[in-house]
Symmetry: C2
Subunit: 453 residues, 2 copies
Amino acid sequence: MESVEGNNSAVKVAFIHDANKLSREEERHENVDENNSDRFAITQCIGETDTHSDALITRYAHTLTNYSLRNLGYPVNQDFNYEALAPLLQFHLNNAGDPFLGSGFSLNSMKFEVSVLDWFAKLWEIEKNEYWGYVTTGGTEGNLHGILVGREQLPDGILYTSEDSHYSIFKIARMYRMQCVKVASLISGEIDCAQLETSLLANKNKPAIINLNIGTTLKGGIDDLDLVIKTIDKCGFTNDQFYIHCDGALFGIMLPFMKQALRISFKKPIGSVTISGHKFLGCPSPCGVLITRLKYINALSRDVDIISSRDATITGSRCGHAPVFLWYALKKKGLTGLENEVHNCIFKARYLLNQLRGAGIGAMLNEYSNIVVFERPLDDNFTRKWTLASDKNIAHVVVMKHVTIEMLDTFVREFVQERYVWYKDGQVQPLCIAKDVGSKNCACSIHKLSSNY
Amino acid sequence: MESVEGNNSAVKVAFIHDANKLSREEERHENVDENNSDRFAITQCIGETDTHSDALITRYAHTLTNYSLRNLGYPVNQDFNYEALAPLLQFHLNNAGDPFLGSGFSLNSMKFEVSVLDWFAKLWEIEKNEYWGYVTTGGTEGNLHGILVGREQLPDGILYTSEDSHYSIFKIARMYRMQCVKVASLISGEIDCAQLETSLLANKNKPAIINLNIGTTLKGGIDDLDLVIKTIDKCGFTNDQFYIHCDGALFGIMLPFMKQALRISFKKPIGSVTISGHKFLGCPSPCGVLITRLKYINALSRDVDIISSRDATITGSRCGHAPVFLWYALKKKGLTGLENEVHNCIFKARYLLNQLRGAGIGAMLNEYSNIVVFERPLDDNFTRKWTLASDKNIAHVVVMKHVTIEMLDTFVREFVQERYVWYKDGQVQPLCIAKDVGSKNCACSIHKLSSNY
């Protein structure tokens, strides 16, 4: 094997060789010393010299600030302040293993993690001695875990989920080699229980693992948990023949603060609930919370000597900072703070809906939702400028805490101006989006939003 | 459904009710106002009052510093400085989707991510236009991805991995519903290729998906990639009948800097390589790098409108800070810095080995490894004090950058002192660990390390 040590190490030669293929400006350094080679090697990727890296970070932060001020399309609360936690960034914190059992790796935040989990267990009405959970790397890991628990309980189970489900659900079905039945949705985005009934009855010989969207990514449609349970019951599935996982990504923490909204509760026959921590609460990195019933976990856990713990998680080594961020957010906001934030987001979403419809733009807003859906802007530059998220004919704004009335006013004003250009002063009619948002919310020439407004 | 809005919301009542069950000291607040109730509710979990939360964080950071000074057992470099990146913590950064295609969510660090990936692609010798990869949430996600790629290429493939493999590998086999053959290891921890050959020949009718440990978690044994490839070839498997995933958690970035060490290279018939970013490089949160061949990825990718990208990752929404941390570490260290760090860790590991053996303590150190394996301390308090990792009869120290000669000297001195007590002044003999580390490395009364030293 070729020597790779010392000044002539093969890895360095490779990097130097590549560095020498750089731009004309850099060719003059062809016979550079070792440090320069290193510099060029990494430089080549990012297009900056090493001495400029701190300046580059500063410029990057500046760019992010600009993006942040116009970020309307993603369910991410960007209004947070974790300055007090900055001292923790000098440590690698790792919650490897089971948060309730601790870990041999002492630089962990498992006490904070359990505190956060206890809080959510109470929110979703399950006793401390009956639940298990952990802080995940995000919504997808929560779904990965919840659906795995379901599959391990019901190995032959078929996964049912609506066509409006997050893309992770279909990915997970494939990963886990599970049969997946995609169920049609209503206009609102929520699962069509009549269709679910048909599907369940067609597969009565196999258990049902049901993923529910609380709510859907695009439209904020909330699957009706109570009606789903009734449907399962009506189809004759007994309690040991089904498992319900609730993907509560954004709304899972919001609904408990809204009057008459669907109640997510382990007093109902559900198996697991997950939310994303960075969505409503806000957090620098993606994270989430998964709560399930303790009784399911023994089947999944393995003792792991090397970490002096047990492991029933998906990712094993887990971020220790995220639980502290979540703990801090919950502590600073308090229940009243959270309640106010929820109602404020809903209020602003209704404001946006009214502004759009008032301007003759087709738009929809589900009850208990802060996701306003409307016709897709025709210009991708406009979509990018406001970081809108879109799918086929429609786009949406998710009205989070950082979104101000002023931002919404500017957005609508610009949308109206641009739309005037796209639709050539009214000579061209807006697309019909009735099949996406319902005819009463569509502003096309046939459905004429204004007459229904 | 019960009303949950306003001052009497059910969720608040539940929290208040629970708060009222708190300790005697807190009982006096039974008729507290709403804010106090919130405070107690979250407080209850962490055992502190809200006004003390910042002080609690300060105390926590102080505790972590103490742990950090005695952390010997886990492969985590705690010597890093990312102060310059602090301004980025005011943003939620999310690299949802494919790093090479960008994302609709503008607050991402995909340019940094691709830069880091290019660096590793070069390290492991694969052309830019032939590889695909991403920054993961840690080693387990890298393994989840690599093995999934293997399974999608060879759906009937059997997963082969040594008994010394990381616990995640067996978990993944179960998650993916793959048949898994556990192959015996040599004393060093590396896979026994004679046993692998037997297993492969016994299952010649099915393709082979082979997970290799570069190196093993406990002993730092390095599976001999070249010998494994020869063994596969000898057994008559053609190139389209096997897939090799290299779990390079710690050593994957170290070996290229060591003379005559195993070369990890995509010029060999391997399918994927992964490392953990927080291990050798050091990073506040767990993260990792996965590199695979681009040609495999189309089969896994799905277009995802909502994020204006494609998704072929495991976790979907991904931490945007980790790629910037890795980029910064690579940029600041440079190749020479990395090479020096590698050799320094190896030097200190040899030093520790000599100190232990000089003190009559059975110990083993594989070539190209910074993991020193020795008899398990009899007192768990001692193990915890030094954050050692252990498994059955043996424990280990992973000599990372933050580990100083002074720390090692103190550790050995205390070990010798405590051992004197555990073994009652020589009246009780140390456990025989010959089957774990080989007879020449064992200090029991039969194998008498000293005579072989």
